[in-house]
Symmetry: C2
Subunit: 202 residues, 2 copies
DNA sequence: CTCTACACTTGACACAATGTCAATTGACAC
DNA sequence: GTGTCAATTGACATTGTGTCAAGTGTAGAG
């Protein structure tokens, strides 16, 4: 039955997300996912053509559950560029830890797999759009620091917020999510907002 | 003869560095290195126990050639924290493109190999020391922005300067080395130096 | 001149993990 | 009952690392 089909597919995705979170996205084989789902390794291939396709589907599945659009609403509704920037960092900083396992797996798969690379790239471009929107908002209010063009500032902000940086700061440097959010706001505020009108600490 | 031995070893390292630079550190197999050296694949294992060991040796070999210590001298000799910070970024920004191929290969190997991970980590800790020295210099002159502790600022500066960020900015964002250096100085200066005494654009 | 040492070669193989293929099982629907 | 379809089992191709064993060629030592 087709509902069986879909049910199994969903069970695979659930197991994939769970096991990737557990293992931080590393050392998870197709056979591990199959075992966690309770089916044979080959059965996974009846639903997903390749490991990369499964990872991409798991990413989408997780995003649906986490409801990214709703999370981004506050930033989109911001009444100033400064607010938009800090609310975006808030949103992103709390989002990363929830997707980290799956994101890391995709990030690793990206090195060897075209499809995974494209999926990751697509995701990161969406994040870049959020950065650009915040920078554009600042720019249109003439609050962007004079050293920056909107494009340069977007590049810099985007890069700072990339997952490997979060990984380094929370993993190797021991920052908490709270510290990450607070300090990335500090970096972004100090770096991009013209000092004459810069607000004090949040 | 032992000199033959060392000569071959050096030829392998030369070929490794060359081929890694050519390929941006990706898709370089032991057999490719052997072919580029002009020996059999197995002969490479007579000189290096594993791919990771070869990559680590290639990194050291390249560092010898590039004379990292000499390059760092200006930053070390800086008379102010601000100068130390910007000279460090200068040095680092011009160093990365020269080591990128080998660094990227080590970075990729790191994901699957303990020894490569340790070697990379060691290298990055050395870079972190440079960051810490610059931040400490600022701190001791009371020029560090009040939002930051020395440790937090070191973490943040270190993370910003990591290789994957350079990769994203120069690769995906199209920044030149000149732009990278200039803009990273802007980010670091604006982020970490107390505004009352911050200098104008370099 | 021969013996030995040594770097290197050739070819075969173990090992992981992905992905493919073919034959089979079991359940449900008509 | 028969066909359909998901899933199973087991075998196999592939790719790259790393290991092993036997053989080649050269150079120095006796």
């Amino acid at each position: 039955m087709s509902s069986e089909n879909i049910e199994t597919r969903t069970r695979i995705l659930e197991a994939t997300v769970r096991i990737l979170e557990d293992h931080g996205g590393r050392d998870v084989r197709m056979s591990d996912i199959a075992r966690a789902t309770g089916i044979s390794r080959q059965a996974v291939y009846l639903h997903f053509a390749s490991r990369a396709e499964l990872l991409v589907a798991a990413t989408r599945y997780l995003d649906e559950i986490l409801d990214v659009d709703r999370r981004l609403a506050p930033s989109r509704a911001a009444t100033s560029g400064t607010q938009r920037l800090t609310l975006f960092i808030d949103c992103w900083g709390h989002y990363i830890p929830e997707i980290y396992g799956v994101a890391k797996a995709l990030l690793l798969a990206q090195e060897t797999d075209e499809a995974a690379a494209a999926a990751w790239d697509d995701r990161m471009q969406a994040m870049r759009d959020g950065c650009r929107a915040a920078i554009e908002a600042l720019h249109s209010e003439a609050k962007l620091a004079p050293e920056w063009t909107p494009k340069g500032a977007t590049d810099a902000l985007w890069t700072m917020l990339l997952v490997p940086n979060w990984e380094n700061l929370t993993g190797n440097c021991g920052w908490s999510t709270r510290q990450y959010v607070r300090r990335m706001k500090t970096v972004a505020t100090r770096t991009f907002i013209k000092e004459s009108i810069r607000p004090g600490k949040k």
